[in-house]
């Protein structure tokens, strides 16, 4: 009896949703009619981090808050605001963390220099190996 009850309970259980019952914001899943503006919005949305699914951009995330952020981006671009202004508005509120393109400042210099440093280190390793092979 117990397993059956448990099965029934699971069948009719509904997940505890952490989402509102309101529909997505107007511009959340709707493209701007001006293709150039939509392209600008898309580029910015791919660069802005979702506050909920923090490894995803707001362009990729299904979170409600990401939808509201896409609405914010498209609405402002439609109104003629520059993407850079919207980006700095968000950085003012959430810090540089909010963008996947962190600004170049002393704390992020290692991040920007790392690829070049690794490339140089790799070149040295390769050179040593090739030398060894050339002179057996």
């Amino acid at each position: 009896m117990k397993p059956l009850l448990l099965m029934l309970a699971l069948t009719f259980a509904s997940p505890a949703l952490a989402d509102s019952s309101l529909p997505p914001a107007y511009w959340a899943n709707r493209q701007l009619s001006d293709a150039q503006k939509e392209a600008q919005a898309q580029a910015l949305m791919e660069e802005i981090r979702c506050l909920v699914c923090q490894g995803q951009s707001i362009a990729d995330s299904d979170a409600e808050l990401a939808g509201d952020m896409r609405d914010l981006v498209r609405r402002r671009i439609e109104a003629g605001e520059k993407p850079s202004a919207i980006r700095s508005w968000l950085i003012q509120r959430y810090g540089a963390w909010i963008t996947f393109m962190p600004p170049s400042e002393p704390t992020t210099w290692p991040l920007w220099l790392a690829p070049f440093a690794l490339l140089v280190a790799g070149a040295f390793v390769a050179r040593a190996r090739l030398k060894r092979r050339a002179a057996p």
Partner: protein, 174 residues
Amino acid sequence: MKKLRFVPVVLAALVIVALVWRLAHPPDTDVQSAMVGKAVPAFVAPAALPGNAALSSANLADGRPKLVNFFASWCVPCVGEAPVLAMLEQQGVPIVGIAVRDRPADLRQFLSDNGDPFARIGSDPESRVQLAFGSAGVPETFVVDGRGIIRLQHIGPIEPGDVQDLIQAVKEAK
């Protein structure tokens, strides 16, 4: 050259140690608002319940420090937080609410079930006020001083143990 042979092994071991350490100590996913210390962004939020008081940034610079509570009827931790907010209100802390993505009918039900400690409730159907505050979810609570400067952000539900600290923060925000 022979000495260098173990370098890859050591590097791999370091990577594994780092990964295990990260698994044991998951990073803090709370998003801190960068607006703490700055003025409340200008906003006008219509009344969340028809006929009740609306909320705007002007109401937050009226000389009295306040708690600004972002909540929603669909937010489960907000139910747990409600009695603690009631406690704060009884102790004389003015509280205003921002109802995020909410419907009047749901909100009315929530307030009649869990109590209404709010002097005003503004409606924020597209999370615009929430984003303007640098807030990332519900529930979140901000201490705003009498001049309308954000002084503190409390992320997540307020626990009974946080009451004294918040009362102190509101007192200091004069």
